[in-house]
């Protein structure tokens, strides 16, 4: 008997993740994938998300691709990505259209500016939390702060910043793991 989840199950699971993932999808994705569907356990999920974070792209979209491919091949991956994006994109367009109607109202302007500065705060708080939890070595801290200062302080582009700091940070990670294991 085929115990793999069907394309339909994959689609609706990721539709739910997309639909409920306000302010980032990682938390609700864990709930659906680990608690409800039991496709992965907590440890596998952590490893999956860690890997997805080291790759380009949105973590949960990457996770959707990997799980979809695991069960149903490339078509499964495509179905999972469409599933996770469908509801958010529809809501996004509806929200943008609704906003355009009221855009000239001063309160709407104020509310959206308020939402923008709050969202910026969410990003800062989340990334600070993740950074502290990752327990970086002093050298890794230096690389993180250098990235912050280069982009936010000196308006350096992302690509040159990454090109300078990624090799430096990788080298320091390699050095510290070697030192730890010897």
């Amino acid at each position: 008997m085929d115990t793999r989840p069907s394309l339909q199950t994959l689609f609706f699971s990721f539709l739910k993740i997309g639909l409920m993932g306000f302010g980032g999808v990682a938390a609700i994705a864990r709930h659906v994938l680990v608690v409800e569907r039991r496709w992965v356990n907590d440890e596998e999920y952590g490893r999956l998300l860690g890997l997805c974070q080291a790759l380009p792209g949105a973590n949960t979209v990457n996770a959707a691709v990997m799980l979809g491919d695991r069960y149903r091949g490339p078509l499964g991956a495509l179905i999972c990505v469409i599933g996770i994006m469908a509801a958010p994109l529809t809501i996004l367009v509806a929200a943008a259209t609704a906003y355009d109607r009221v855009a000239n109202h001063p309160l709407a302007q104020l509310a959206l500016t308020g939402a923008a500065v709050s969202a910026a705060g969410l990003i800062l708080g989340t990334s600070a939390k993740l950074l502290v939890r990752a327990r970086p070595s002093p050298m890794a801290w230096a690389c993180a702060i250098a990235a912050l200062v280069a982009v936010a302080g000196f308006h350096k582009g992302l690509l040159p910043t990454l090109a300078c700091l990624a090799p430096l940070s990788l080298a320091s990670a390699a050095w510290s793991t070697r030192r730890a294991s010897s």
């Binding site: 080291a54 990997m66 708080g125 990752a134």
Partner: protein
């Protein structure tokens, strides 16, 4: 809407997608740079507004690209930008996922995570700063950003709740 803009949208977002290590938030400064300063598709205020809408809607943060595409070129812009920012990472993830399952030895992966995550998070912090600055909301704006950041750091409240409180506080600050 001219095809040239769609091609530009597609190439910019497909290119940026390849360096979005740690998610789309690290791209905010670069998307801002391309859309506002290089191509002048929109101004700072519009960018801040679209950013807020994309954050308020559920779903992955890469939808900032989708909403910018929608703003510039309607439905075809939305689809072009979304597909462009999704596809290259998805292909990489597909092969990475298969590779991991085959070799499953993750010393290299561990090293990659250990090395890249701090830089990615530093870039994410920069995105927060740039996003707050782009909103151009003065001292009150920075105060709300700092308040929400602290609340997010020290509690595990629902982000949407914090965003609602932050927005209400901002409106209140301006009404007094």
């Amino acid at each position: 809407m001219s095809g040239r803009i769609l091609i530009q949208l597609g190439t910019i977002f497909a290119g940026l997608s390849l360096i979005s290590i740690g998610g789309a938030n690290v791209l905010i400064p670069e998307i801002h740079n391309q859309a506002v300063e290089v191509h002048r598709w929109l101004d700072d205020a519009t960018f801040a507004r679209l950013f807020a809408i994309s954050q308020a809607a559920p779903g992955p943060n890469i939808m900032l690209a989708s909403i910018i595409g929608w703003h510039i070129a309607g439905l075809s812009g939305l689809l072009t930008a979304s597909i462009a920012i999704l596809t290259p990472p998805a292909i990489i993830a597909l092969f990475a996922g298969r590779g991991i399952r085959r070799w499953s030895e993750h010393r290299a992966i561990r090293l990659l995570t250990l090395g890249l995550v701090p830089v990615a998070l530093g870039l994410m912090l920069a995105s927060g700063v740039v996003a707050s600055r782009t909103a151009n909301a003065g001292l009150a704006g920075y105060a709300i950003t700092a308040g929400v950041a602290l609340a997010m750091y020290f509690t595990s409240r629902n982000p949407l709740l914090l965003m609602t409180i932050g927005t209400a506080a901002f409106i209140a600050l301006h009404s007094v």
